[in-house]
């Protein structure tokens, strides 16, 4: 397993995330997509810190951990807002939430 | 210091007016009149005390303003600017008196804006720092926009925004050119906006400013900026609308002073600062060499013919000023003593005459509440004095010798003929057409049988006469003794033509 493998995997993850975000018709799925994106980033960081930076330097892992934390926080806020949306619009289909436009 | 006082007294007046309660209208008017009268006195003093023999600017004040960019509050007057300052200061009180009765709503805001406008105009003519120059130039926009837009006629909003957009469009081009000049004027440390310095730099061999291509582009930038103001065909379409909609006093300022700001800029910046660029457009070698004169010619003929076609009294006068500004452009394009002096004199005289004309239109409009020329007729009997003054103004405007209009036009043409024979001869058509539309108007409004609707139209009253008489006297006096004004700037003009006219034997 070389760096390339990790990078390819993370790239695929990232792309899948973007794809999900762009295409899913459900807010939750979008959230999942976002999670995918973030995790691909984490994977990158870890991989880089493993292969690129000297072993004693663990910046990559630290960043990854912070990334996970922030992802969690984001997910929490996101879900809260999705609740609010559901209360107001009775739906969590993102394409139905479009009263603001133009 | 005197000069700065004159410039900012109206601004002070604005503050005072704003502090006054809006109910006490009479007081507001009086205060405004006072604060427009002080600059007049100062201007007259400057006009008399001005040393006619010296080239350099006088009463200079040069205080550092934004030293980081070497921007100074640098004002001063030379013969050219003092002339126009006098014109501005003179029209100030006259316009206030003219607005005495016929501004119904918001007299306070009106007067405040008017005072702000006057500061802008006076400052513009006195500024010797390019940045200051631009700031004052723009400073006249805001009040004008509101004065037309709020107190104007039925289509005032349209006229106001059109005026604003046109001028702003022109002035942003000017801004680019200005910044380019500033950046080219030297190394980061030594850059300057100082007009006299820039003029000397631009004519020193080998300096970056002295490069032909650079000057051509910068010339164009400034030129379009001023051309909108003059206005020069095809940037003129805002003028008739603005004039027709604006209240009388504002039309007077518009035609009397704001148009001159354009031509003044042409002389002060385009001619003095960019001799190479000017030469490119006036050397008569190829099409571009004729372009400036051609524009002047088009203005003259085009404006005159359009005026001939108008049936709205005010529009007619508006188009006639387009025509008359054409003579200024033609004279400037001649870039010799005779032509330039004629042009500048024409600037002053047109300021006075067109002011008279618009005041007269206003007088008639206040009585009849319309401006349809064909709607009148035979007023000559009912309003003899008004008819007399109108005849005087018309005759002056159509260039009757003995009145001020003639001298400027004649000199401009004489100067231009030395350079552009054909164009000048063709431009003389404008003289005939000018006579044609003014006489035709005179006939349709005053001669012939009286239109029964105006059986009891009141004669012009004392207040209106008060506004007109000084201008009338000026037209006659300057027609007989034009040197009163010419001597003011002849030295500066000689200097100017020397600076730029080194390309040819001075005619």
């Amino acid at each position: 397993m070389t760096l390339q493998h990790y990078l390819v995997i993370s790239a695929i993850l990232f792309s899948l995330g973007i794809f999900a975000v762009l295409t899913r018709r459900n807010a939750i799925s979008i959230l999942m997509g976002i999670e995918l994106i973030l995790n691909s980033c984490n994977l990158n960081f870890v991989a880089f810190s493993r292969f690129v930076t000297p072993p004693e330097n663990i910046d990559g892992q630290i960043i990854a951990i912070f990334g996970i934390v922030l992802a969690a926080a984001e997910a929490a806020v996101f879900l809260a807002i999705i609740l609010a949306i559901y209360r107001e619009f009775g739906s969590i289909r993102p394409d139905e939430v479009d009263t603001l436009k133009g | 210091m005197l000069l700065s006082l004159m410039i900012f007294v109206p601004l002070l007046g604005m503050v005072v007016v704003l502090l006054l309660p809006r109910e006490s209208e009479e007081l507001i008017k009086r205060v405004t009149l006072l604060f427009t009268f002080i600059p007049l006195i100062l201007a007259v003093y400057l006009f008399i005390a001005y040393d006619r023999s010296s080239i350099s600017s006088q009463y200079m004040v040069n205080i550092s303003w934004i030293e980081k960019f070497n921007i100074n509050y640098h004002v001063g007057i030379d013969g050219l600017s003092v002339t126009l300052i006098l014109l501005t200061a003179l029209l100030g009180p006259i316009c206030v008196i003219a607005s005495w009765r016929n501004i119904e709503k918001g007299i306070k805001a009106y007067m405040a804006l008017f005072l702000m406008l006057e500061t802008g105009m006076l400052g513009f003519f006195a500024a010797l720092d390019l940045f200051l120059f631009y700031v004052f130039f723009e400073l006249t926009l805001l009040p004008m926009y509101f004065l037309i837009g709020v107190w104007g006629g039925p289509r005032r909003e349209y006229a106001a925004i059109k005026f604003f957009l046109y001028t702003l469009f022109g002035s942003v081009l000017m801004l680019v050119a200005m910044i380019a000049v500033y950046l080219t004027s030297g190394d980061p440390g030594s850059r300057t906006f100082d007009i006299p310095t820039l003029i000397t730099l631009a004519s020193t061999e080998g300096h970056a400013l002295n490069d032909l291509n650079f000057q051509i582009w910068v010339f164009l930038g400034f030129f379009i900026g001023f051309a909108v103001k003059v206005p020069i065909f095809p940037f003129h379409t805002w003028l008739p609308d603005a004039h027709v909609e604006a209240p009388t006093a504002i039309s007077v300022i518009l035609a009397g002073v704001l148009l001159k700001m354009g031509t003044y800029g042409l002389v002060r910046i385009n001619m003095a600062m960019f001799p190479l660029g000017l030469d490119r457009f006036t050397n008569g070698s190829d099409f571009w060499g004729y372009s400036l004169a051609l524009l002047g010619f088009i203005n003259i003929v085009y404006g005159s013919f359009c005026a001939l076609a108008q049936t709205d009294f005010k529009k007619l006068v508006a188009y006639s000023s387009i025509g008359h500004m054409g003579f200024v452009i033609l004279g400037l394009a001649a870039r010799n003593d005779t032509g330039v002096s004629g042009a500048i004199l024409q600037m002053f005289n047109h300021g006075v005459i067109s002011a008279m004309l618009f005041l007269l239109v206003g007088v008639l409009y206040d009585r009849a509440h319309h401006r349809e020329i064909n709607g009148f007729g035979g007023l000559g009997n009912k309003m003899p004095i008004y008819t007399g003054i109108t005849t005087l103004a018309f005759m002056a405007s159509l260039g009757l010798p003995g009145l001020s209009g003639f001298v400027g036009e004649a000199l401009a043409l004489l100067g231009a003929y030395a350079k552009y024979k054909t164009l000048t001869i063709l431009s003389t058509i404008g003289i005939v057409i000018g006579a044609a539309y003014f006489l035709w108007t005179l006939q349709r409004v005053f001669l012939g049988a009286l239109n029964p609707d105006y059986e009891d139209i009141p004669e012009i009253n004392g207040r209106e006469i008060l506004t007109l008489v000084p201008l009338g006297i000026l037209t006659i006096v300057l027609g007989v003794f034009p040197h009163i004004v010419i001597d003011m700037f002849s030295v500066s003009v000689t200097e100017l033509t020397k600076v730029m006219g080194t390309f040819e034997a001075n005619l």
Binding site: F14, I34, G102 | L175
Partner: protein, 489 residues
């Protein structure tokens, strides 16, 4: 540059700490305040901001001899950071004052609201001063997360919830993308410190370990995150909707503070990371940014033209102003930097002022539409005057400060020969006059629908004048022109 370890750093970190403390204090006080209507919490947070400001100025005095790098190079304390901190404190204070007067804000959640505002400010402080990829990402997320909540603060209003939803979705994706870019950058250089990155990149580029494409991809991804903060094309699309949906004070806050913080990040990132020739040669960043800025201002202005909702109109106008600001950064020159900082100050006053007028009118007439501004000149003359000063300043007409700001920006651009960009910018200011003038027209040239005049308290006028006076005088008086010389990166 001397690195401070964590313990030493605490001392220089006082402003941020104060913000955290007061955020907590606000929440606690909110628990004890019986009368929900009372404005104690707001005043407490204002006091907190006051303390913070003092602290900032004190820290400022400590860096007289060169900037400091805190927490082992996580964040940097320099004039640049101080400048933005002061700016942000002012913006936040203004926002709190607006909120006190805004009638749409929910009474029940005052505590959280102000706590969140302070938290956002904290995040922005960090954005302005972070010099490490990790710090950059964390600060960005801090700001974003709190902003999402603030945008959706009107839980009872669908517009607000929708705004929050769009904001978070968009923000999450953008920041995720950015994080990916950051990870790539980290991978290329093996470090998170901007300074080191700027040293290493040329080497690795020269060594060929990294292709220009890789660099381009990572930077573009990062740009997505920053561009989303400063709402620059093509990452601007969230802002109109969010601005329209969010409570007006928050809109004001986002359009000024969040944008300023974004620019702080942008400047620090590009100025400190990309000055090196080697990097500049891989991709023509200057041209990229120039195109982006031209598109931003143009699209913002054009889209603003047909707007009937003043709030939304101002949202688009703030997009175009982002474009103007970007012009200064195009060439990464000191003049550009100075111009941007100066314009940010001006923009703070004139834009907040304009939004404040929107708040006032919305309170009185309950509408944000242009119609509700009809005849304002007769119903509330002073407010109308203030508004036209703000609008003409935004247009960039002398003698108002906006003109001088624009003038600096254009000078910076032209000095590097980008005439076309300057020209586009100036044409845009002509276009912008066109929609600002529609508000002026409504206020001055049209007669009001109903005649009874608005009544405003003196404190309102006092606050208004706080914005009007600088808008008039910053440009004319020669006071602020030189401060930017001291600020370097």
């Amino acid at each position: 540059m001397d690195y401070k370890n964590n313990i030493e750093s605490i001392l220089y970190f006082t402003p941020e700490i104060l913000l955290i403390v007061f955020a907590a204090a606000v929440i606690i006080l909110d628990l004890f305040v019986k009368n929900r209507g009372s404005q104690k919490v707001a005043y407490l947070s204002l006091i907190g901001l006051g303390f913070t400001l003092v602290a900032i100025l004190i820290t400022n005095s400590t860096i007289a001899d060169g900037p400091l790098s805190l927490f082992w190079g996580m964040i940097r304390l320099d004039k640049f950071a101080v400048f933005f901190k002061v700016l942000l404190v002012l913006a936040t204070a203004a926002t709190i004052l607006f909120s006190l007067r805004s009638e749409e804000l929910d009474e029940r959640l005052k505590g959280e609201y102000h706590a969140l505002l302070l938290a956002v400010t904290l995040g922005m402080f960090l954005m302005a001063s972070s010099t490490n990829l990790l710090m950059i990402f964390i600060s960005l997320e801090t700001v974003s997360l709190t902003s999402y909540i603030l945008a959706g603060f009107l839980t009872h209003s669908p517009r607000s919830s929708e705004a929050a939803f769009k904001y978070i979705t968009y923000g999450a994706v953008a920041s995720g993308t950015m994080l990916f870019g950051l990870s790539l950058l980290f991978g290329m250089t093996g470090t998170g410190d901007l300074a080191e990155i700027s040293q290493r990149l040329p080497e690795v580029l020269a060594a060929g370990d990294v292709t220009g494409l890789g660099l381009l991809i990572s930077i573009t991804f990062i740009l997505a995150g920053i561009g989303y903060k400063i709402a620059s094309v093509p990452f601007h699309m969230w802002s109109p909707d969010v601005y329209e949906g969010a409570p007006i004070p928050i809109t004001a806050f986002l359009s000024v503070a969040s944008k300023a913080a974004g620019f702080a990040l942008f400047l620090r990132f590009f100025y400190s990371g990309f000055q090196d020739e080697g990097i500049l040669q891989t991709v023509d960043w200057g041209f990229l940014l120039a195109v982006v800025s031209a598109l931003t201002m143009t699209i913002g202005n054009l889209a603003a033209l047909p707007q009937q909702n003043v709030k939304r109109l101002l949202a688009y106008s703030s997009i175009s102003h982002g474009g103007y600001l970007l012009m200064g950064g195009v060439l990464l020159t000191p003049e550009g930097l100075g111009a941007i900082l100066f314009y940010l100050v001006v923009y703070l006053f004139m834009n907040l002022g304009a939004f404040y007028v929107v708040v006032l009118i919305a309170n009185e007439s309950g509408s944000e539409m242009i119609e509700s501004y009809r005849g304002l000149s007769s119903r509330a003359p002073l407010v109308a005057v203030a508004m036209f000063i703000f609008l003409f300043s935004l247009t960039g007409i002398p003698p108002f400060a906006g003109f001088f700001g624009k003038w600096l920006l254009f000078t910076a651009v032209i000095s590097k020969g980008l005439y076309w960009l300057a020209f586009i910018g100036l044409l845009n200011s002509v276009v912008s006059l066109y929609y600002y003038a529609r508000i002026i027209k409504a206020m001055y040239f049209e007669s009001p629908d109903e005649d009874e005049s608005f009544s405003f308290s003196n404190s309102t006028f006092a606050l208004l004048s706080v914005f009007v006076i600088p808008t008039i005088f910053i440009g004319i008086l020669n006071i602020l022109y030189n401060f930017s010389d001291k600020i370097t990166l």
